[in-house]
Each structure stands twice: as C-alpha cells, then as structure tokens.
C-alpha cells in the first residue's frame, strides 16, 4: 500500500515536471515579453537591464530549474501586464473559481449519483425515461449555450437571478467568499448549473449503466434471497459496487470542471482564474498563463491521487493484492 502510494506520488511529480517544461517553454517561444513590457522609447540598455532582472539572459536549463524552484514555492514571477506577483493575483482570483467549482462538483456528484440510482432502479418507469431523455440535452448542448439560455430565461425574462459577477463577497483572512451573502449565493446558481450540468449528466448515465450491470449480479440476487430490504440491497450492496468505475470518471470530471470553468467564467464574467487566463492570453501575459497551467495540472494530479487512494478504501481486493505483491 505504502509502496503504491510512493509510486503514484513519483508519477505525479513526473507529470508536473513535464507540464512545468511546457509552461516554461512558453516563455521562450511565445513572443518576446520584453517587447510587450517596454514602450516604444526603449534603449538597448533598458532591454539588457530588464533581461538580466528577469533572468532571461541565462541558459535554458538554468532558467527552467529556477522556474521550477520558484513554482514549488508558489513564486511564478511578475505579471507582465499588471506588474504584480502572479501568486498574489492567483490568490485573489482562486476563491471565486474554487467556490464555483466546489458547488458545481457537489451538484454534479450528488444529483448525478441520485438520479443514476433512481433511473436504474425504476428502469422502465416514465419518470426514469423522461430523465434519461432530458439528460441527452445536458450531454449534447455546449456549455456556453446552456449558460446563455439560462441567462436569457432567469435573468432577462424572469429577472430572478443576476447574469454576471459574483455578487457581494465577504473577506475571511485571505479568502473572499460568496457563500455568506444572499447576492453571493444567488450569483452562484446559474454559473454552477452551467458548469456542472455536463458532468452531472455524465455521472448520472455512468452510475445508471454500472448500477444496471451490478443489479444483475449473483450477489444482488443472493442479497434479495436473504430478505434484505430494498434500501440495503440498492445502496449497501449495489451502489457500493458501482463506485470504483464511478470514482474514476468522477475524479477526471472534477478536474475538467476546473478546466472548463474558463468558458463559464467568460459567459458569466465570473472573476476567477479562468477569466484571468483568458485575459492573460489576450495580452500574452506568459507568467500568468504558465502559473495557471501549473495550477490546473496540480489539481488534476492531486485529484487523480485521491481517486487512487479511494479505490483502496472501497475495494478490499486491491488492498490484499498490493500487500501480497510487496
């Protein structure tokens, strides 16, 4: 078990190193930041001075190692555009994205699993069939379209919910939260639905098909034959056995919720890191882009690691095989 964890952590580090290389390469190959940072009236001396300050005159490998060293300490350099440390900017923006992603992820998982179980148990009922048909919409409509439709309906026509922004936020330490004000909560509704809908339908359809498969198994029949209550059979016996594949996909989907936040944040002008990234692209603000890339990959890798550990806690067979193997 421990050996497995170490192995996975090592793999994760390797992945991060590669992503780091890609992020770092942007500095070298996407234009020359000096051009953007200095105005028209620059002298060669200005250019050289800036190059030395930014460390751009050093060999590639040295720069890469420095970049990594900085990244590990959360130091991604200075934004070309805002002239402030990238880490400060990210810290300001991260709460908005993380809160949005957390609400979306929670909705996607809880509703997705709930509806998946429901549609599997009531396989041929009209409610289950209706849900299944509707879910096709969730899978096939692009995110931005869903967002625009929701805005049109709930903000423009009905006027119930705000169409952009985070509403009022409360600052707690270094974290700004929208959870504590009414306008903050209201502002979360449409973006989190937009962001989580695709993942929700995906999880629902996956849970449903896994559940149908598990319900056919002998141990489910045997559980029924022993007179266990439906609730115990469906949730204790069946749902638990669907979790391993569901967790795999759910983990990946949570990662993509954070990544796809770019689109939702753009549609709703949500002041998170996704919007920051889009703006950074427009201005070729490479430190910000690189930091964003690293941040996303750290989350992906972290989620994957958690998923692997969850397997162990769910499936005793994995625990056994691993301990035997080592």
């Amino acid at each position: 078990m421990l050996a497995f964890v170490i192995q996975r952590v090592a793999q994760s580090v390797l992945v991060l190193l590669v992503v780091g290389l890609v992020a770092f390469s942007m500095f070298r190959f996407v234009g020359d930041p000096i051009d953007n940072m200095l105005g028209q009236e620059r002298t060669q001396a200005d250019i050289d001075r800036l190059r030395t300050t930014l460390g751009l005159d050093q060999p590639f490998v040295v720069q890469y190692v420095k970049f990594l060293g900085g990244a590990v300490q959360g130091n991604f350099g200075v934004s070309y555009r805002q002239g402030r440390p990238v880490s400060d900017i990210l810290m300001e923006r991260a709460p908005a994205t993380l809160e949005l992603a957390a609400v979306s992820g929670f909705l996607a998982i809880s509703i997705g699993i709930g509806l998946g179980v429901f549609t599997a148990i009531r396989r041929d009922g009209w409610a289950a069939n209706t849900i299944m048909s509707l879910s096709l919409i969730g899978v096939s409509l692009p995110t931005f379209l869903i967002g625009i439709l929701l805005i049109y309906l709930f903000s423009v026509e009905l006027g119930w919910l705000p169409s952009f922004g985070r509403g009022d936020t409360v600052r707690i330490g270094g974290w700004t939260t929208g959870f504590l004000t009414e306008s903050g909560l209201k502002a979360l509704i449409l973006p989190s639905i937009t962001l989580g809908l695709y993942q929700m339908t995906l999880i629902m359809r996956l849970v449903r098909s896994e559940m149908l498969e598990v319900l056919r198994q002998d141990y489910i029949r045997f559980a029924r034959a022993r007179g266990l209550r439906d609730r115990a059979v469906n949730f204790r016996h069946a749902l638990k056995n669907t979790l391993v594949p569901v967790i795999t996909v759910t983990g990946l989907q949570l990662g993509s919720i954070i990544a796809f936040a770019i689109i939702t944040e753009t549609v709703f002008q949500w002041p998170g890191v996704g919007l920051l990234f889009i703006n950074a692209i427009q201005f070729v603000d490479i430190p910000v882009m690189a930091a964003y890339l690293m941040l996303i990959s750290v989350m992906f890798v972290g989620i994957n690691l958690i998923v692997d550990l969850l397997y162990f806690s769910i499936d005793p067979r994995l625990r056994a095989d691993r301990t035997k193997a080592h």
């Binding site: 045997f222 034959a225 266990l228 204790r236 056995n241 005793p316 056994a320």
Partner: protein, 325 residues
C-alpha cells in the same frame, strides 16, 4: 404440526415472448416434508431453476407465476408481494446459489453480510447478531470463526465460500432451503463435503430442502425423494430408492443410463438420443415421445398425467415385462 413444509400445486410459470407464451414450468405439484430432502433433476433447460425461483419469488421478469399455488408452513405465499414476501425470504425460505465465487458481495466483510441478514429478520442487538454470525460460521465448519468473520470473500477458497453461503442461507433458520446446483461450480474434491454438510445441517434442524442438481450421484447420496423434470413438467416423482432402483419413466431410465453411478459399476453409459425440445417448439402429446424408444401413437396426441403423489407421467411405464416375453 405434521403438514408438509413446502407444498406446490399445479405451479405454472410463464414467459411472454414475441413468439407466444412459453411455459418453462407447467403444472408441477409436490410436497417437501420437515427434514426431507427432495432432489430435482433433469436436463439443462428443464425448468428446475425456474421452479425454485418461483417459490422464493425471484423470477426475473418477464417470467412470472401464471397459475397454481405455493404453500409454506400452511400459508399460501404465491400471491404475497413486496415487504410481506421479503420477510419470508431468508426467514422461512433460504436459497443457496450455484457459484460461491459470485454469490458473495466482494466489498463487504462476511461478518457484515451475516449480521445484516440476521438483523433483517430477528429482533437482536448488534452484539447478539454478531455472536450468532460467529456461531453460524462455526456450524458450517469454518475454522477460527471468531477471526474469520472479519475476512472478505476473496480471502476464502471456493469450498469455504460455499460454506459461508450456506451459513448465510441458514443464519435466520429458515424452514425451507432451495439449493440450486450448490456444488456444480466446485472442485470435485469438495463437492461431497458440501453435500454432506448441507445434509447434516438440515437433518439436525429439520429443514426441508429442495436440492436442484444434474448429478444423479448427489441425489443418490443426499436426497430422500426425487422429482424428475422434463420440458417444464414432472416426469416422475418418488422415493430415491424406488426411482433410482426401478425407474418407471423411460426418461428417468435414460437419464440414469447416462450417469456413471457407483452402484451400477462399469455399466455401459448410453446417451438418450436427441435433445430436449425448445419451449417454443414442444411436440404434441408427451414432450418426450420423439426421444422415447417405447412411444406409441397415443403418446403423440395425448399428454400423460402424473397421478396424485408418486409415480410416472407415462402411458407405458417401465418395466415392460409383457413386451419382453
């Protein structure tokens, strides 16, 4: 109480299909008394499992009970639904499936599977249920039951798992056990042990057993009475000694001939020619007549019936002494 534990009357199971209604079980009747083991034999597809599943109400739709009556301990159960039926499962009627590798939930400790079953039926505390679970494992011959209760199914061998399955089926002390080919998936070396265990446990508790099997050897070893099924109907019913010693239905005779029985020594094995007809293509009259060496014209038009109680559903039951002479 002296009545039978299980009493089936004219039980019919139907499956509606696009090509019409199939009857995998067609009007069978038998009783199983307290502590009695009734063996059910017949070729694959004869309807043995369907009949067992019908009793415990676990037919998979669209199969359903279409007629007849099922009585357990003097109560009619074939019309019970939902929670009323659930209470009987495990408590009055236990079931053992064929494959112990797939019968146990791989993610739950066997102790948890036992206690949840016990708690579903008996008014006990968790601690009491756990004690009972340990006792149940002990009774089926699992060494070190106190520790093994915390093991997962994959930590047991096939034979041991089938013991666990039997413990699960018996832990709420049902008065009837339906064992659907309980040894078919097991290693030959442990088959006899499992049959002996099942037999001993049920004898001690007076549990009635419906023992479904392909194996005439198992019947000879364990059963008191035997029901021979063919194409959804009972071909023959009687005490094991009578049926195996002097089969009256030509199908039973053929079935015995194709089974290597110790008592028959090196007797030549002869296969029954042909195969059992498909349910959607049953012949007129006796379903066995196309394969029967003794079939007469009446067999092709009329369906022989099984007289109440023991006997064979055949117009010309064996032995055919007259013909031989």
């Amino acid at each position: 109480m002296t009545g039978p534990i299980l009493s089936i009357r004219n039980l019919t199971v139907e499956i509606p299909t696009r090509h019409g209604i199939l009857r995998p079980v067609d009007g069978i009747s038998y009783d199983i008394g307290r502590g009695e083991i009734l063996g059910i034999v017949g070729e694959s597809g004869a309807g043995k499992s369907m009949a067992g599943n019908a009793v415990i109400d676990l037919l998979s739709p669209p199969a359903h009970i279409a007629g007849g009556e099922i009585w357990v301990n003097g109560t009619r159960i074939d019309q019970l639904k939902g929670d009323a039926m659930r209470r009987l499962r495990g408590k009055e009627i236990g079931m053992v499936f064929q494959d112990p590798l797939t019968s146990l939930n791989p993610l739950l400790r066997i102790g948890d599977q036992l206690t949840e079953t016990i708690l579903a039926h008996l008014p006990l505390s968790r601690a009491q249920a756990k004690d009972r679970a340990i006792k149940a494992l002990d009774e089926v011959g699992i060494p070190g039951a106190t520790e093994r209760i915390n093991s997962y199914p994959h930590e047991f061998s096939g034979g041991m798992r089938q013991r666990v399955v039997i413990a699960l089926a018996l832990c709420a002390e049902p008065s009837l056990i339906i064992a659907d080919e309980p040894t078919t998936a097991l290693d030959v070396s442990v088959q006899a042990q499992i049959i002996a265990l099942l037999k001993a446990l049920c004898r001690n508790r007076g549990t009635a057993v419906m023992l479904i099997t392909h194996d005439m050897g198992v019947i000879a070893e364990a059963a008191d009475r035997v029901a021979v099924m063919y194409a959804g109907k009972l071909a023959e019913l009687g005490a094991v000694r009578d049926v195996l010693g002097a089969p009256r239905h030509p199908y039973t005779d053929g079935l015995m001939g194709s089974t290597p029985l110790a008592s028959r020594g090196k007797a030549r094995l002869h296969q029954i020619p042909g195969a059992m007809p498909a349910l959607d293509n049953l012949p007129q009259g006796c379903a066995f007549h196309p394969r029967c060496p003794y079939a007469q014209s009446i067999c092709k038009t009329q369906m022989p019936t099984l007289a109440d109680g023991d006997g064979a559903a055949c117009f010309f039951p064996l032995p055919h002494t007259a013909e031989v002479a």
